[in-house]
Subunit: 524 residues, 2 copies
């Protein structure tokens, strides 16, 4: 992390009118209110229902963990086989005893006991320091608060901000679980047109400025849900200027931004075909964060961003740990909600993740993130290479404001049949995250008029599944209501390059090619 | 656990009309829906956003754990110093590797990955088996579902059953966080009169039969929240006959019972004064469960009980693990809710708790629970002994249907002043759980007419806190609305004997005695 000069910033503004009725009605969990008396060293506390820590059956929890430099950075990765050979000791040991040897030591008596919804002090400190140094929020009194990952974070943010009957703005293609969370709350998503970077600021502004409650059948939403880095499903990356534009619009129209950013450190940069891929120049560890696109927090002079950070993609999903960064009022309400749902995140996880971060130190965690970034770049490159090797793509520049890929260069595969040349498949290589968003041109399928787009998409997906390959069905990622006939209705598949072995990814692309060929040969 | 003969039971009845609007509107988390295709062994899965398990920094997690016989059982506890000396090896080792050595082994690649909301198969199996053998639900198609502890469990149950504006029946003294969870949902608690066993069936029936929507300003509640064992705060234990009565009433009036039962295994039996305490007779491990009061599940022929079990009091609160037992329809809705809030419980916790249970085996876990039961009996006995040694109590039999202690023997301490003898403090020794519920007779305080009960309670609580002792303020545990002037208004303190060292508990009782003496000496 870079130290950075101390910058004097103003506090955020009052945004309390954004709280939902439910959030306003939430009280402090009554027994937790006692905890302000707990500071006295000789206090005899018979108030809480805490088991004695001698009754915890775990006397010690330990872990063997990788060292921060376990994976080569992207700058080193062309020599990664050498790296793997000579990078030395690959393991470090973590131990959490039942009782601390000295004050401040992580211990099970604390971690496995009832705790505050805000988590153990050691992980609070790390989160606060990391956020300050890496994201540099643009106002003074921002707060951080631990949660159980971004699904929990989004669920709590939505409940804190939205009343039933309200809407939430979201990219027209978005994370399905984010939608599934809000639907039963009686909250609808209002899709926003996208381009290569994600949400279009021009269209967003237009929708806001011309919003008509009556024809829309709801009041103008006051919340924007966005995944600006590694956009799920498109793999897009939103640049700083676009973020600044959208932030300004949100100030003008008084919108709260929920920045769901689990893929932040998986920024790949532009895809370069194999032939033109060179060795990047060396970069110092403490300069690395400044090579990444900034968070919305960097523009947030008013405190209208709720940022969701997660350890799921950079440590492990099973940790179920993440955190909010937001204004102190929202943080307090979100904490109250945590007290009566989860209480605190799991103690094993807090203890083992904090031990790891303290063992690695800030410098080490940065190095770990760089190694992970490089792994995902290799995976992105490999998967896109497979696509290019298997299909015959033509790069096409797109300048069409109705296209998801406006402003980008797409790779497009055509099909020649009876002298006609029609597009079958196209995509833009992702620049961050875990996914390639493939567009299948169902409108050129011989049975398109007969079946329609949606039935064809399902059919292709099932054919692929039967051939042993599972892709994410595109229709799942639509932010639109199923009954909205004006919604974009392109056929897509989301393909993840994050998890499978390389040879299997290659096989999957080959199976996809032959399945697609057969699929387009279909006759009525 | 006892094997028990296979009993043929009928399925539960249709109770779908109890689902809340929110619960009915909840969809399957879209991406999780794909998981039905995941069975095929050679499937290449590029659908999910899963990191590769090689990127998890933990290569192995291990723990030193106590053995099941670490604490003497209540039958052995009179010889517990001998037990501690000779009970042999006190430690066992648990290891969770990154990858399984053989199928079914608990491993980090699975535990730390995204998982199903229903948890790892190994812990699902344990929970199911344990529930069948220990609680013996009285219908055929009951289901179990893991959750993140009873706070999560209750929050999900309330959201699954209640619409805003509805009420929930609860004991007049109840767990404050249970109330704090439902208040912001626009759901009120409707207090039910109690006696020594907990909720009175006669009064419950009367309230239901004479319910008037208009004067009550709400429709008749269809949910009962209850803590039948180790009632929080009173420490009462509900017998089987009372449970059967209440269950029958719930059938008659179509009420769903949420049985919040974290203290189930901490059943103490009646308190016996030191002099009359003898050695209990030996009991076999597999006969132990039948010495405990049964769960509501044992009477649940229709599937109208949602039972909440927790590992918090018997393993450790920081595990954040518990489970539902209920009918399959409710279980499915509760699972859907989990998918969009917590996803799955923490993987470290699932792995370490499951490893422990498999290491101990069923027999060992039973033995562990018996040891814990004995520890809490010793603590209860010690704390009540302290009270009896410090105050001068007179046992008084109560037969007053307005008394919380109707049907019991209370210990009552009096104060002599100017020839008058008036009660100051009274209590009934708890028969399960972690708490003593002390009644302070504020109505006999010299300044009662001047200050009133509530101000005096606060004053005493603060005096105690300033003297270094923290009790739970009684007013917190009232299920009534603060504005309800008809509500019971007795002064209480909840005192926990579960956590502090024995000498500190003794000191606390002495400080309480002198604080109370000074408090009653106060003059206007």
């Amino acid at each position: 992390m870079h130290a950075g000069a101390e910058v004097k910033r103003a506090p955020g503004i009052d945004l309390s009118h954004h709280l939902s009725d439910l959030s306003k009605a939430r009280q402090t969990s009554p027994l937790k209110g006692l905890q302000k008396y707990l500071g006295h060293p000789n206090l005899i506390n018979l108030a809480g229902g805490l088991p004695h820590p001698d009754y915890f059956p775990y006397s010690r929890v330990s872990a063997d963990a990788l060292v921060p430099s376990s994976f080569a950075t992207s700058r080193e990765s062309s020599l990664s086989w050498l790296w793997n050979l000579f990078s030395g000791d690959k393991s470090t040991s973590l131990t959490v005893p039942r009782y601390p040897a000295k004050d401040g030591d992580i211990n099970l008596a604390q971690a496995l006991q009832y705790g505050l919804a805000r988590g153990m002090p050691q992980i609070q400190d790390f989160i606060r320091r990391f956020t300050a140094e890496v994201y540099q929020p643009a106002y003074d009194n921002w707060a951080t608060l631990i949660n159980s990952g971004n699904t929990d974070g989004w669920c709590r943010a939505a409940l804190t901000l939205c009343n039933p009957g309200e809407g939430i703005f979201a990219a027209e293609w978005t994370y399905p679980s984010a939608k599934a969370t809000v639907i039963p709350l009686g909250v609808r998503m209002v899709p926003l047109p996208m381009d290569i970077q994600g949400i279009r600021s021009d269209k967003f502004r237009e929708i806001l400025a011309t919003w008509d409650d009556k024809s829309r059948n709801m009041s103008r939403p006051h919340v924007l849900y966005t995944i600006p880095i590694g956009q799920n499903p498109t793999g897009g990356t939103m640049s700083a200027p676009r973020k600044q534009e959208i932030y300004n619009i949100c100030v003008e129209f008084d919108i709260i931004i929920v920045e769901d950013d689990p893929y932040y450190f998986l920024q790949h940069g532009q895809y370069l075909p194999k032939a033109s891929r060179g060795k990047s120049k060396e970069i110092q560890n403490d300069k690395w964060y400044s090579t990444l696109e900034p968070s919305y927090l960097a523009f947030d002079v008013q405190g209208r961003v709720i940022r969701l950070d997660s350890f799921s993609k950079v440590i492990a999903p099973g940790c179920r740990l993440g955190w909010f960064t937001c204004n102190p009022l929202f943080a307090e309400r979100l904490e109250r909600q945590g007290e009566t749902s989860l209480q605190a995140p799991c103690g094993f996880s807090q203890a083992l993740v904090t031990s790891l971060l303290l063992n690695w130190k800030d410098e080490g965690y940065t190095r770990w993130l760089r190694g992970l970034q490089a792994q995902y770049i290799s995976r992105r490159d490999f998967f896109v290479d497979c696509l290019l090797d298997t299909f015959h793509f033509t790069p096409v520049t797109v300048a069409d404001e109705k296209s998801l890929w406006d402003g980008g260069v797409i790779y497009q595969a055509f099909r020649e049949k009876s002298g006609n040349r029609s597009p079958v498949l196209s995509f833009v290589p992702p620049t961050s995250g875990m996914f390639v968003w493939l567009k299948v041109h169902f409108e050129t399928h011989p049975l398109y008029e007969f079946h329609g787009q949606e039935a064809l998409e399902t059919k292709l997906w099932l054919k692929l599944a039967e051939s042993g390959v599972l892709f994410g069905p595109g229709v799942m990622f639509s932010a639109s209501e199923p009954e909205d006939t004006t919604a974009i209705n392109d056929g897509h598949m989301r393909v993840s390059f994050s998890n499978e072995e390389f040879d299997k990814m290659k096989t999957a692309v080959e199976i996809f090619k032959s399945t697609l060929d057969h699929f387009y040969d279909e006759k009525r």
